[in-house]
């Protein structure tokens, strides 16, 4: 099969890549921006697969709306609709569920299999198109569906990159239909990783933007995937990985492993202070907070002036940090732009549960600190203490307060939170 010239863009036929296993997807070579956030230099593919068993046919994932003709043409080249027994959606995002309504209409006898977390999404995604919701069966890890001499086994791999995501494993041929996992936005009609151009940058770029915020879920999924015997990994975007597929699985593990934890050891926590300062007042507060935090054992403290750095390396630091403190002056009733630029660049990392705090000097109203605190809460960080606001030049007393604040946040980070007794609800601001 490796020697067969492929030109799927004109053939419009299915491509068999294991006995009875066909690619029936669609090519989108002119796409340059996917889903607002992702760029692609040569488009993408919407990979859909067909598996033929002795007692029926399974379709695994469909294509984006607008690409149905190509999908159905390829499907019809290898199967009749009345042969379809099973439809699996590994992920319900519209680029994979776009042809589902029409497929269900053409194959009404087929049963739809989705993950346990996909039900509400299915209803919400298809609501505009149908009066009656589809019937479906929810599945989880080790549930199986028989096609006679072939069996599909499901792996529950949520949050890669939606709550609903799962993988489907074809046991007899050792093919893993992995959904978006191990995928990339890369369009090459030669389809297979041993035939297409150099797509490594696309693979890493896709991971960095799609999977990176969900590293802990990647690790849980890898625990299910790595023990499998795998001849082929067939994702929903980009090349089908048939040449040494385990390299890509290993690469995911490498990308999902924290580098800083190896650097700091298992015990030290990382606390990072970022600040911007107009007249040096917020900078002096930052230095005082730094000096306080630095007295706490088990905390590695870093102090960075946002004026002197780029966003991307700071995002990398933030991903690995345990506590983040942001200092911003208030200018025209707002925190300053470099602070917002950084705080609006964090969608690619997981901040859940990290400790956050804010501080800053101000001239007359001082809104920045509260606004930054609200942003951190919105990013699912824990803000354990109200931040410090200082009017213009901090006094020595106020700098001492900053030192204490730094020490307190660092102590909270290492689990030495000072007890405050019983608080009355009415005293909470």
């Amino acid at each position: 099969m490796a020697d067969t010239p492929l030109n799927v863009s004109t053939w419009k036929e299915a491509v068999e890549f294991a006995p009875g296993v066909h690619w029936i997807g669609a090519l989108d070579p002119t796409l340059r921006t996917f889903d607002i956030i992702l760029r692609t230099a040569n488009g993408t593919t919407y990979n859909s697969y067909l598996v033929r068993g002795s007692e029926g046919v399974a379709i695994i994932d469909t294509v984006k709306e607008g690409f149905e003709d190509e999908f159905f043409h390829r499907l019809e080249s290898v199967a009749r609709y009345d042969e379809i027994k099973v439809i699996v959606l590994n992920h319900l995002e519209p680029d994979h569920s776009g042809a589902l309504p029409e497929l269900m209409r053409r194959a009404p006898q087929a049963r739809l299999y989705i993950s346990t977390r996909a039900t509400t999404m299915l209803k919400a995604l298809l609501r505009p198109n149908r009066e009656e919701p589809f019937e479906y069966t929810t599945v989880t890890t080790n549930d199986r569906v028989s096609l006679g001499d072939r069996h599909l086994r499901f792996l529950h791999t949520p949050f890669l990159h939606w709550p609903d995501t799962q993988c489907t494993y074809l046991e007899e041929q050792q093919v893993l239909f992995s959904g978006d996992v191990f995928g990339c936005h890369y369009c090459d009609s030669r389809l297979f990783n041993d035939r297409v151009g150099d797509f490594r940058f696309s693979f890493d770029y896709y991971y960095a933007h799609i999977m990176r915020p969900f590293k802990q879920w990647v690790m849980e999924a890898l625990a299910l995937i790595e023990p499998l015997k795998m001849k082929i990994v067939a994702p929903t975007h980009g090349p089908i990985l048939r040449e040494r597929p385990r390299r890509y699985v290993a690469h995911y593990r490498e990308l999902s492993t924290s580098s800083l934890s190896r650097e700091l050891g298992d015990t030290d926590k990382s606390l990072i202070i970022f600040y911007m300062s107009s007249y040096g007042n917020t900078a002096r507060m930052a230095e005082a907070i730094y000096s306080g935090a630095d007295t706490v054992e088990g905390v590695r403290v870093s102090l960075y002036d946002l004026e002197g750095g780029e966003i991307d390396p700071f995002v990398d630091l933030i991903e690995e940090a345990d506590a983040l403190l942001f200092g911003s002056p208030t200018i025209n009733g707002d925190a300053v732009k470099p602070v917002w630029d950084l705080l609006s660049s964090l969608a690619v990392v997981n901040l859940k549960g990290k400790i956050g705090a804010a501080f800053g000097s101000y001239g007359w109203s001082g809104e920045a600190v509260r606004m930054v605190e609200d942003r951190m809460r919105g990013l699912k960080m824990r803000v354990p203490r109200e931040g410090i606001r200082v009017k213009l030049i901090p006094t020595q007393e106020e700098l001492d307060e900053c030192t204490g604040f730094g020490r307190e946040i660092a102590n909270i980070l290492v689990g030495k939170e000072v007890q405050r007794g019983v608080i009355e609800f009415s005293d909470l601001t």
Binding site: T120, R382, F425, L428
Partner: protein
């Protein structure tokens, strides 16, 4: 007005609140580790574990039950954005 004590075990902090207060109204203000997403009982982000006083919270609604099920909640898990305090209880992030 009837009062109740809620303790956030992750930060060892107790708050005296009027009965009927939602946990979401308290936890962020005192810096507890329960975190929130949609804040309206749909996403499951604020799932917490009730370690004491399970019966001192309002009963979960049908919607909350469904969200808890979908998020594979344990027996004593609740959503902090939905549960209201009726009597003394202790909670921590799930």
């Amino acid at each position: 007005m009837a009062k109740a004590k809620i303790t956030f075990e992750d930060i060892h902090q107790t708050v005296n609140v009027p009965a009927g207060t939602r946990i979401i109204e308290i936890s962020e203000k005192i810096g507890a580790g329960v975190i929130y997403g949609c804040r309206e009982g749909d996403c499951g982000t604020c799932m917490m574990e009730v370690t004491e006083g399970w019966n001192n919270l309002t009963e979960p609604s049908v919607l909350e039950e469904k969200v808890l099920r979908e998020n594979m909640a344990g027996r004593h898990n609740r959503l902090a954005c939905q549960a209201q305090i009726l009597g003394d209880c202790k909670v921590k992030p799930a």
